[in-house]
């Protein structure tokens, strides 16, 4: 087991796990992601910001629910 790495929210706002209401989630727990892959969106000030994985890994857990509020610097998900 490698060390878990956190993906942090760079801004405050509403976190979304899918790009649109009728679209599938970007990634599921257990999926392999590469650095630069989008794992969700944060909506603030009527802007949508793509949250990306900063390194390669496997999605261990989402700490924030879809449409949950996040603060800047808050952990959104962990990679292993």
């Amino acid at each position: 087991m490698g060390e878990k790495k956190a993906i942090l929210a760079p801004l405050p706002g509403i976190f979304y796990r899918r790009p649109g209401q009728d679209l599938p989630e970007y990634v599921q727990e257990g999926d392999v992601v590469k650095a630069g892959d989008t794992i969700g969106l944060i909506e603030v000030m009527k802007n949508f910001y793509e949250v990306k994985a900063e390194e390669d890994g496997i999605v261990a857990e989402f700490v924030v629910d879809n449409e949950g509020m996040v603060d800047a610097g808050q952990e959104i998900a962990t990679l292993k």
Binding site: P10, L11, G13, E43, V44, M45, M69, D71, A72
Partner: protein
């Protein structure tokens, strides 16, 4: 010249604002935190109305095309030059090819980047400020995008030595909960007495709808005094016959979610404005983030004017020490 490698979330060119057109419906735009804006220009020796970059929440990555002095003032979005942390509220020097980037926002919401000479974009109605809602001013009327190239203006007035810092006591303290002073009115008579107290006693939470146009707050529902609506007013009890909206005025459409109107907002309309944020605290509003807590504290007009004089005195102290 400055090249935009990454734009950040919403980075716009701003000066003091497009003053003098409010009565024709043109809001002033301009820097949201005038204190930080003014200090940033002072630290590079610029004319007080030189245009700067207003950076919100998420910083850009910028590359400088020549040696120049720069400064950063405002909320704590920690800056780095070529990856090395550099201080805010300080005169810095960058060389050709240097790259400015930022860490995640810590405290506050907006930081101002002043560059020697100011940012040069065409004047629109006497101002370089960006008003994105109608796409005028600033860089092509919009927030910066990757690949943009900013030209420098000639509004440099004074040599300021690299390493100049302001007195730490003149750096505002930023936090996550905020007491914002208001003068009650113009239409606070429309609220029930109980709801006036609720407005002042509630700890409001800033929603994700908080930007240069206004800040929306979630908390308690407010009730308006029942009446037969006058001619010209809308049918909702939160409506009045149209009036001008002061900058900083607070309206509560349908009694839910008070909105503080800010520098890019509509200049008038038909909602009762129940209180107005005092000018000295508009700078502090600019540094509030989504999810943070706000209490509105009532003061008299005399208190508001005194607070304005205090801010001016602090800026004079900064100016005289540089």
């Amino acid at each position: 010249m400055i090249s935009v490698i990454k734009p950040g979330l919403q980075t716009t060119v701003q000066d003091k604002g497009r003053i003098g057109f409010y009565e024709i419906g043109m809001p002033p735009s301009g820097a949201m935190d005038k204190y930080a804006f003014t200090v940033a220009n002072l630290l590079v020796g610029n004319h007080p109305n030189a245009a700067v970059l207003e950076i919100t929440y998420l910083g850009p990555v910028l590359q400088f095309g020549k040696r120049m002095r720069i400064s950063l003032a405002g909320g704590q979005i920690p800056p780095r030059i070529n990856g090395q942390p550099v201080p805010m509220w300080t005169t810095l020097e960058v060389r050709e090819g240097d790259e400015l980037s930022f860490d995640f926002v810590q405290l506050g919401a907006r930081v101002y980047l002043a560059v020697e000479g100011g940012i040069d974009v065409p004047l629109v109605m006497n101002s370089r400020s960006t008003y994105t809602l109608i796409g005028i001013g600033g860089y092509e009327g919009r927030a910066l995008a990757a690949g943009d190239r900013l030209q420098l203006a000639d509004m440099h007035e004074k040599e300021v030595a690299v390493g100049t810092q302001i007195d730490p006591r003149l750096i505002p303290a930023y936090s996550r909960s905020h007491e914002i002073r208001v003068v009650m009115g113009l239409c606070s008579y429309r609220l029930t007495d109980e709801s006036k107290q609720t407005f002042l006693n509630t700890e409001w939470t800033v929603t994700p709808e908080a930007n240069r146009t206004g800040y929306r707050h979630r908390g308690e529902r407010l009730q308006f005094v029942e009446r037969e609506q006058p001619f010209g007013a809308g049918s909702n009890p939160s409506n009045v016959t149209d009036l001008g909206y002061p900058i900083g005025s607070i309206q509560v459409p349908d009694g839910v979610e008070p909105i503080v109107l800010l520098h890019d907002a509509v200049t008038g309309g038909g909602y009762a404005t129940i209180a107005t944020v005092i000018s000295a605290d508009l700078d502090r509003m600019a540094q509030i983030k989504t999810n943070e807590k706000v209490r509105f504290v009532p003061v008299t007009l005399a208190d508001a004017l005194e607070a304005r004089r205090e801010v001016q005195a602090r800026l004079s102290q900064v100016a005289s020490a540089i």
